[in-house]
Amino acid sequence: MSGKLTVVIVEQNRDRAIAIVDALTETGDVDVRVIGSVSGLAKQIARHDPDIVLIDIDNPSRDMLEELTMASGPLERPVAMFVSGAAGGLARSAVEAGVSAYVVDGLKAERIKPVIDIAIARFQILRQMRAELAETRRALEERKVIDRAKGLLMKSKGLQEDEAYALLRKTAMNRNRRVADVAEALVTASELLS
């Protein structure tokens, strides 16, 4: 898994976009893309699959991003940040509410940095949660396969459950493979033969 954070900036003004790109690049390992035209915005953003979308709070196209957050679900949605001078007070409340929206005053690099840091921290928590979820799912799947393999051995060789598991483990050790892999091979083979 790449540790690089992908940031998409929605900004039509070229100079402002460059200023933000510079500020972001200073903060470290980020992959920055700029979208200059809001035509088909949701599609353009989806193509980049960013971790963070940066858009001015005064940009009416922000509503186009709502679709993205709905399509991807609250956990997976890209973090959207809104840069503005006027609405500063919204920032902290938004962050505290767990909404993926941050508001920064102005476009100065030193103002963007802390927000990016928060975003990175959030991103890492999110990524860890995703990884844990995937791991749990995988473990569950493997348990099911091992149970099925045990059942097959018990039935065909008249073994007790612990004996069946011991046999699976011994085979795995002899062949230098994981128990789950041996179990899967057995289940597949038995499906082919039945």
Binding site: E67, R77, A87
Partner: protein
């Protein structure tokens, strides 16, 4: 007496009129509040301003607080719709490409018959028909899906995408969308920009749809019951003023200002008058009750309206329909509306729920003073919606 300052946010649209009129005509000061109005750049920003306490009240799409109560859309702050601000007021239009094809089909653009419009559009649409709407939770989305499902369009692949209203004409020209459903004046602007033609008013799909609400945080309801009453009365008086025919010119002028819509009053006037240029050839169509701010208890927040929205959303998002309706019912606060308007001369209905879609013409109903006539309330397919009790 010093007026208490109260900040409210709105989207620059014709149906933001009650808030704008309340301030411009001094209905706020008469209630001892001083409205400070903020124009929001987008619906999501407006929602965030309200949710995070940047403003105390907001002009909001009626389905937004309902969606939030159903846990849709990410933010879960409970909001109360203390009044409906307007009924109806949207238009459906098509881009020039589809308009030309409809023309060559001999379609008459009657701006009235939703079933025929759906059939004609289904004949000329490409593989995918993409509609632009202002926001994923909006009456625009609800009306479109209701219409699509009940017409020949049901057999076509239809997609709905979010496009900010001022960019609708541009999105049509760029081919991002084929058609749209939007609040006025943006449909008329698309026609004037030669970007498309108008196909139907929202009223052709549902003649009595709650369009925008006045929303506040539940916490604010508890904390400021007196301010809430004053705000509600000021906005109700603004609606009553807007309903007077001789107010129209002044209202158009207020909305046309640079700080609000920044468009010629003539474009805004079409919605208030209900008379539209449906194509660039200048064909005119009249729609009675195109947008309603007052008459027929238009601003009463019927719990059945919230339930209708929830019932549609529950079906689309796979939620429990009964639970959705009961959660939504608590969002439309007919109780607060009654309390605030007691003794103002407002004609308050006897019930807080009704069967939606069951009135084929203006109908007298039970009310506090016995003079309430509800307008026609009909869906284009004549189905009726009985809310869960």
């Amino acid at each position: 007496m010093n007026a208490v300052p109260l900040t409210a946010a709105y989207m620059p649209l014709v149906d933001a009129a009650p808030l704008i009129v309340a301030r411009e005509m001094g209905f706020d000061l008469a209630e001892g509040i001083a409205l400070d109005l903020l124009a929001a750049p987008s619906w999501s920003s407006l929602r965030d301003m309200l949710v995070f306490g940047h403003v105390q009240a907001a002009h909001l799409l009626a389905p937004v607080p309902v969606a939030m109560a159903l846990g849709l859309g990410g933010i879960a702050t409970p909001l109360s719709a203390i009044s409906v601000l307007s009924a109806n007021g949207t238009v459906i239009g098509v881009g020039t490409r589809l308009a030309d094809r409809l023309d060559s089909l001999g379609y008459g653009f009657d701006f009235r018959d939703a079933r025929a419009a759906g059939a004609a559009l289904a004949r000329v649409a490409d593989d995918v028909l993409v509609f632009g709407v202002p926001f994923p939770f909006s009456m625009h989305v609800e009306l479109l899906w209701y219409w699509v499902a009940g017409t020949d369009l049901a057999a076509r692949r239809v997609e709905i995408r979010t496009v900010p209203p001022p960019l609708m004409a541009q999105a049509l020209a760029a081919g991002d969308i084929d058609a749209f459903c939007v609040g006025e004046p943006w449909g008329s602007v698309a026609v004037d920009d030669h970007a498309g033609a108008l196909l139907l008013p929202g009223t052709a799909i549902w003649s009595a749809a709650p369009e925008k609400v006045l929303a506040v945080r539940d916490g604010w309801v508890e904390a400021e019951p007196d301010l809430l009453n004053r705000l509600l009365r000021a906005v109700w008086r603004a609606g009553r003023w807007l309903a007077r025919p001789d107010s129209r010119t002044a209202a158009s002028e207020m909305l046309s200002r640079r700080t609000c819509l920044n468009l010629p009053p003539e474009v805004i006037d079409r919605a208030l008058l209900g008379t539209f240029a449906v194509s660039t050839r200048g064909e005119q169509r009249h729609v009675p009750g195109f947008v309603e701010f007052f008459d027929g208890a238009a601003t009463f927040p019927w719990r059945s309206q919230a339930k209708w929205i929830a019932h549609r959303m529950a079906a689309r998002y796979g939620l429990d329909p009964q639970l959705a309706q009961s959660r939504a019912a608590g969002v439309f606060r007919s109780d607060l509306y009654r309390k605030a308007l007691q003794g103002t001369g407002a004609e308050l209905p006897g019930a807080s729920e009704k069967v939606e879609g069951a009135l084929d013409g203006p109908t007298a109903v039970a009310s506090a003073r016995g003079r309430l006539i509800l307008p026609r309330n009909q869906f284009f397919d004549r189905r009726i919606f009985e809310p869960d009790s």
